[in-house]
């Protein structure tokens, strides 16, 4: 629930003033000092999480665990400032497109109208959901309140458009699979064969093809030929071939993540963020 009342807005204003003061201070600081400040706070942030993890926590919590909402809140504050910058950049870009009538300016109108409508009805939905926004006009349409309009735009528009985009992936999978499975090389042929076995082994039609191979012999013991049932071959491919390969990749990725995190945390990185001036 959003906050209300003078005290809430007073705290909000105080927070804004403090944040702008910090930003102004950072902007005014010499470039070298600014980088040291950023490196220091990066280290401090990482140190908190490292200490919180390594300090013994017999009951599942230690003396640092309680500060996690505060640290998460700091991240949210920085994020909320950045949203303003992102929105500014987006609106500026589309206003420029519109003012110069660049190709596709019609899309900019759609975006700006949608943006204003979602913002207005989104805020009204939080603070005044029962306010009438569209009055009843004869027998044409009934009155609509802010909550109804927001639901119409969000659930009726945005959510459905998202679902429609998601469903398009099915067609893209078909076209990508067509290209991937063309038998151009040994690797593509192996991929095609493996995919075919896994797909056929996952449907009842496929399992019916090898249903004649019984899992048990007449004396009740395991039938070794049952390994050749298509669903068993598919399972073997998934568990004994695919999973180890994926785990190998995951080992590399996790070590890469650890190394990169260490470089950022300790400001060892010499790249776009902490260059040689530091």
């Amino acid at each position: 629930m959003p906050g209300h009342g003078a005290a809430y807005f007073g705290k909000l204003a105080f927070g804004l003033v403090v944040m702008f003061a910090i930003l102004a201070g950072l902007q005014a600081a010499p470039r070298r000092s600014r980088k040291i400040i950023i490196a220091f706070f990066t280290f401090l942030g990482g140190l908190y999480f490292a200490l919180e993890f390594f300090y013994p926590a017999p009951s599942g919590e230690n003396f640092l665990t309680g500060y996690q909402p505060l640290v998460a809140g700091l991240g949210a504050v920085i994020g909320s400032f950045a949203i303003g910058l992102g929105v500014f950049s987006l609106v500026q870009l589309h206003l420029r497109t519109l003012s110069r009538l660049r190709p596709g300016w019609g899309y900019s109108i759609v975006l700006l109208v949608s943006f204003v409508a979602m913002t207005v009805f989104g805020l009204m939905n939080e603070y005044s959901p029962n306010a009438t926004v569209i009055p009843t006009v004869g027998g044409l349409w009934q009155s609509q309140n802010a909550h109804g309009m927001f639901r119409f735009l969000f659930s009726g528009g945005l959510s459905n458009l998202g679902s429609a985009t998601f469903s398009i992936i099915a067609f893209y999978i078909a076209s990508a699979a067509y290209r991937a499975f063309r038998l151009r090389s040994i690797e593509a042929t192996l991929l095609m064969a493996a995919a075919l076995i896994v797909m056929v082994g996952s449907v009842s039609f496929g399992t019916a093809l090898t249903a004649g191979i019984h899992p048990k012999l007449t004396d009740g013991s395991e039938n070794p030929w049952a390994n050749l049932r298509i669903e068993n071959i598919a399972q073997w491919l998934l568990m004994e071939v695919n999973t180890p390969a994926q785990r190998g990749i995951l080992f590399g990725l996790t070590l890469g993540l650890l190394a990169t995190s260490l470089r950022y945390w300790l400001s060892l990185e010499r790249g776009a963020y902490f260059d040689k001036e530091l």
Binding site: R179, F251, L253
Partner: protein, 267 residues
């Protein structure tokens, strides 16, 4: 919340791996610069940017759909190199972002890259575009840019999920040369099917070292390889011990092997 005290063995291993990586970084900074192998996907960056320039069409970059985390920072680090190449060729680049914080960092990254290449005037405010915070609205936005701007080279680096195939297939449809890399192993097959070059697994993290040849980054890559050897050793000990346990059923050796296998098991 997870804590080290729940499993000191794994936590100690993390500390050991960290020390190995830091040790190799410091060693490389002191002048012991190692060699790293060729990564074809990253060699293709200049080729893709050059081709886009010849065609007079822009280059597109998408740093995934997560917020400002290590994966996105790594993607931006790669894009810094791509942007330098774009600036060198005098072409135009577009970066689409889903997170407003990433937008700010991306703008600074691209601005610095253009300045480093000696072409700061080529960077325009609208080159980095914050589109939306919604996954599929973002996918639609990126697809729209790819089609409207007739992008000739598309770089997809970062954390991608279900939308990865939309980016890659639309890029394929507009005839863009595509280079991709993601930390999401489930999306790698889709990218391989639709892109021209894909960096797989830890090549994603090795990219900035490979492109910049910075000793710190190269040292970190070698540190990771030593860590992999250590982990491989632990896995081998586990395999051999477990296999021997099927042959040896009693006595002090079996007891020792049981203790070792129990110790190595992740609880």
């Amino acid at each position: 919340m997870q804590h080290a005290s729940e499993n000191w063995w794994v936590s100690g291993l993390v500390v050991l791996l960290s020390l190995i990586i830091i040790g190799k970084v410091l060693s490389a900074q002191r002048g012991r610069v190692p060699f790293i192998r060729r990564i074809p996907g990253l060699n293709a960056i200049d080729e893709a940017v050059g081709r886009a320039t010849e065609m007079g069409r822009p280059v597109m970059m998408v740093p995934g759909i997560s917020g400002l985390d290590v994966v996105t920072l790594q993607a931006l680090s790669i894009f810094s190199y791509v942007a330098r190449a774009v600036a060198r060729f005098g072409n135009k680049s577009i970066m689409a972002t889903i997170d407003p914080i990433v937008t700010g960092v991306a703008e600074e990254t691209l601005r610095d890259a253009y300045a480093d290449a000696g072409r700061p005037e080529l960077f325009e405010e609208g080159d980095v575009r914050y589109l939306t915070g919604q996954q599929f609205a973002f996918a639609t936005g990126v697809a729209g840019i790819l089609i409207r701007e007739k992008v000739a080279a598309s770089f997809l680096f970062g954390a991608f999920y279900a939308e990865s195939l939309i980016f890659a297939e639309v890029g394929q449809q507009v005839g863009a040369i595509q280079v991709a890399g993601t930390t999401q192993t489930n999306q790698i097959p889709f990218l391989i099917a639709a892109c021209d070059y894909v960096v797989i697994g830890d090549e994603f993290y090795a990219a900035s070292a490979y492109l910049s040849r910075d000793p710190t980054l190269l040292g970190s890559i070698v540190g990771q390889d030593y860590c992999k050897l250590l982990l491989l050793g632990i896995i081998l000990i586990g395999i051999i011990s477990t296999s021997l346990l099927t042959l040896i059923h009693g006595g002090p050796v079996a007891h020792l092997l049981h203790t070792l296998v129990d110790f190595l098991k992740v609880k």
